[in-house]
């Protein structure tokens, strides 16, 4: 029963939110709240389906769903394997939880619900698709939905942030598409597995010799990496992210920070390991160097920029640049000459962990802004006295971000560090360890203001408009993130077991 259902689950997961996105537009006139309820029912159903799918894939084997019944390499397939199901589950669950935040915290309205569901559909598509071009389409759907959601805050700065994100994001997607075109030229196929086989000399192209050292293939990787790096927001092309995160409505920031860049990084893992495979990097060590260098630089510069910020949401956004730098560095390490299982595990776990922690921090920042009006580091002075619970949550999540155990942040960092040591990339190892101190730089700054500023030292000009606008839903999101962060910190071993099948498959055939 479960198995036959699992066969269909990927298509339902992608199709359902898009189908549901139509209804708030149609029915929104009847009842203003209906968009929220439609979203809730949809995301709850998706969470359930994703859970069943994940269980089925974990117990049995990967599920391939051929759209329209056309088999690859011609048809488009959706793939639920040991990696993608976890991201599918993460997306569905996060989407459900964030809804609790929006019930009172807004934005509301039928257009918001539609675009929100469209965003979830796009993200789900990225997670589950097995086709390179289809990935582009979903990237763009996600992008368009994200731009619209940022602009949902009716302020000119939000429009500016959205446009900035739009232009940079579209350029990134275009670069990615060029890479795909090159791969299509080289192999005549767009299916990830088939392209991968063709690059190795087999597949539908069946050339007989590996194509890894072809200039075309190398250029393809360069373009795809550049495109996805833009979406991930690595250092030189990160500039959209601080604006987007800080100008978006608070609830939108939560979902953006938790999922959008995360899923782009997932796409990078997918392309790097499923399509190009470690064999490509063996022939092209420069690619490994490039990825690692960009990741490391991003991790360092992002942290430094974060320390310099005075607005909370910008600071946390720059922190994301740094954390994604670590993830990308780990991806690079895993492509290195010594197969580093731990590095890849670290990249995946840190990606998931970062989604939980960052989502939580942004949710907390939103709730704090709703209740006290504080939006800058300055205004957080003595917050622990006014909002002890939220301050404590920020403290826990902040320390988790630093990598203090027991927390999911520590687990991710431990695997990345171990991977770097394992593959003897000492530079990365050093950066991972140093990043603890860098992260501490901005986290401690915040905590000190919250806890160790006497009320008389605090600026009197703390805005108190908005009143006590914190809803139970907001607090629920924050508390859930904190609980997950800590609890998962004890489960590093089981987490590794969950992604291990994928890692074994791509690193050891």
């Amino acid at each position: 029963m479960i198995d036959s259902f699992a066969e269909l689950a990927p298509a339902i997961l992608v199709g359902l939110p898009i189908l549901a996105a139509a209804f708030p537009l149609l029915l929104g006139r009847l009842w203003t709240r209906i968009g929220w309820w439609i979203s809730l029912v949809t995301t709850l159903a998706m969470t359930g389906i994703a859970a069943v799918l994940a269980y089925s894939v974990h117990v049995n084997d990967a599920v391939h769903h051929h759209l329209g019944g056309f088999a690859p390499p011609i048809g488009i397939e959706l793939v639920a394997d040991a990696l993608s199901v976890w991201f599918a589950f993460l997306i569905a669950a996060t989407a459900t939880v964030v809804l609790a935040y929006t019930y009172q915290g807004g934005p509301r309205g039928r257009a918001f619900s539609s675009v929100y569901l469209l965003l979830i559909g796009g993200l789900m598509g990225i997670a589950l698709t097995g086709d390179l071009f289809n990935l582009f389409v979903f990237l763009e759907i996600t992008g368009i939905a994200a731009y619209s959601l940022i602009a949902a805050r009716q302020h000119r700065d939000a429009a500016y942030a959205a446009l900035k994100y739009l232009i940079i994001g579209t350029v990134g997607a275009t670069l990615y598409l060029i890479g795909v075109a090159y791969l299509f030229m080289a192999t005549g196929s767009l299916n990830m597995v088939d392209v991968s086989a063709s690059l190795a000399g087999g597949g539908s192209a069946d050339i007989g010799v590996p194509l890894y050292d072809e200039m075309l293939v190398r250029a393809a990787f360069a373009f795809i990496f550049a495109g996805l790096a833009t979406k991930v927001a690595l250092f030189p092309v990160h500039s959209w992210q601080p604006d987007a995160y800080s100008e978006a409505p608070d609830a939108v920031t939560v979902i953006l920070s938790a999922l959008v860049s995360t899923v782009a990084a997932y796409a990078l893992i997918r392309v790097t390991f499923t399509v190009f495979t470690p064999a490509f990097f063996e022939v092209t060590p420069a690619a490994t160097t490039a990825i690692v260098t960009l990741g490391v630089v991003s991790a360092l510069v992002g942290s430094i920029l974060a320390v310099l910020q005075s607005r909370i949401k910008r600071m946390i956004a720059y922190s994301s640049v740094a954390q994604f730098g670590l993830v990308v560095a780990a991806i690079g390490v895993a492509t290195g000459p010594i197969p580093a299982e731990f590095a890849l595990a670290g990249a995946i776990i840190h990606l998931i962990g970062h989604a939980i922690m960052k989502g939580g921090i942004f949710a907390a920042a939103g709730a704090i802004a709703a209740s006290t009006g504080a939006r800058t580091v300055q205004e957080y002075a003595a917050l622990a006295r006014r909002r002890p619970g939220l301050a404590a949550c920020v403290a826990v999540l902040g320390f988790a971000l630093v990598g203090v155990p027991p927390s999911i942040g520590f687990i991710g960092k431990w695997y990345i560090a171990l991977g770097a040591v394992e593959s003897e990339m000492w530079l990365v190892a050093v950066v991972v360890f140093i990043s603890t101190l860098l992260t501490l730089g901005y986290v401690a700054r915040l905590l000190e203001r919250m806890y160790f500023i006497l009320p008389e030292d605090a600026p009197s000009a703390v805005v108190t408009d908005g009143g006590d606008g914190v809803s139970i839903g907001m607090l629920l999101v924050v508390v859930l993130a904190v609980a997950l962060t800590v609890v998962l910190g004890f489960l590093g071993g089981p987490l590794f077991e969950l992604v291990d099948p994928y890692i074994q498959e791509v690193l050891h055939g």
Partner: protein
Amino acid sequence: MSEVDSLRPLAVVLISLVAVGLIITSHRRPNVRESWSVLAAVGKFAIVASMLPGVRDGTVYVWRFETIVPHVDLSLRADPLGMLFALLASFLWIFTAFYATGYMRGLDEHAQTRFFAAFAASLSAAMGIAFAGNLITIFLFYEMLSIVTYPLVAHDETDEARIAGRKYLAYTFLGGGVLLLAGTALVYWLTMVHADPSIAFQAGGITELVAASDADPWPARIAFLALAIGFGVKAAVMPVHAWLADAMVAPTPVSGLLHAVAVVKSGAFGVARVVLDVFGVDLVADLGMDVVLAGMAATTIVLASFIALRKNNLKRRLAYSTVSQLSYIVLGVALLNPLAVLGGLLHMPAHAFMKLTLFFCAGAIHVETHTDDISDMAGIGRRMPLTMGAFAVAAAGMAGMPLLAGFVSKFYIVTGGIDAGMAIFAGALIVSGVLNVAYFWPVVYTAFFETPERHDPKPIVEHDRAPFRHFVSDGGDAHHDGHHGGPPPGGWEARSPLTESTWFMLGPIALLVTGAVILGILPGEAVFLDLVEQIVEGAVGGVDR
């Protein structure tokens, strides 16, 4: 040696965490709140003590949880070395809990709930460090200790306190988050090369590590240095000691916690774990790291003693004394000789009892008279006879006078050092002993044999040499009340020991100094010597006395 599954190690860790919750919830009723602290302290000590007979018979109580990372459980093991630290810390917490109550109320401090909550949490972390069964678990609690002691260091919420707090966090995260984690990752990787990775503590060293470092000793050396310095940060080994002196801005019970009960001891304890249970004495010797570690420790011992000479603020002088004395422990362990290790480990309780006494005395003086500088203390022995008497006894013990706690441990370290053929390190101890006298005697002399009017100049401290002026005018406890301390206009009034201060503070002082004397006169009767012998037997080999 047999391993027994037991929840007791976990209970020891959890009991004060539960207390944290209770302390926070009863923040409106100070009496109830403080009684939770005391109850948790007594309960914790009771549980630790209940494991003592078993541990003495060679039983190891183990509690395991889910694997946190592949091949590594979250595990708590009550083995002899862990028991040594746990027993010490939980025993001294009882005194500290009483004393802290007296101190905080005496000064009517702000944010007392946060203070007591963080205090209880730090003891929980200290127990975790004591019983941690592997490097990851100890790392977990080590970081936790850093975090929960940070509010204590920055308690005053003045600029000075915030700077000290920042410095403390930066240093301990350099030690914990960076070096310790790096060392752990290296050890994990080294043991993974040959077999399943193993970073669990084993008496005598992790066996896989020996094989791994045969091939290429350098990764093992780097791992050792990372771990040793990582723990060394908390043990305030030079050159990573600077945070400790700045942390003096914290209230005195915190200084007691930092210096005597939990924090710096956890660093020294960690070094002992690394040498004895991760690398093992043989491997450390093979890697040639013993000389490096011992050299660092010996340098710290001598240099810190010199710096202490120049400090006029009593708590700062005590702080540098701690820096110096802690390196005794490190040095003893680093010498790798059974006798030296014995002495080093034995110095852990000895120093704890004496230093806690000294700090409690300094704190009592602060509460009663708001005096922090030694130069203001002329004749204060009349005002606080019992306090200063205890101070004199503990100071003598610090200097290594026979019949006091410090003598026994130093004696073993010196003998061990000579046995090991490293007489130069033994020499460092002798020099330091002399310096100890030099920096403690003036305090005692000033207190008892001088009056504010007839006050001998102390050239080393007070002689004004312009370029070094900042040495003289160092800060100390923040004077939030604006009172600058020093003798009242008519000179110190004479008081009897019974009325000089509240018994919340005097009681702990009197009991602790008695403890220090017992440790010195009857080391064999106090449980610590037996426990240390058991540790040394397991990790190094038989003790040949």
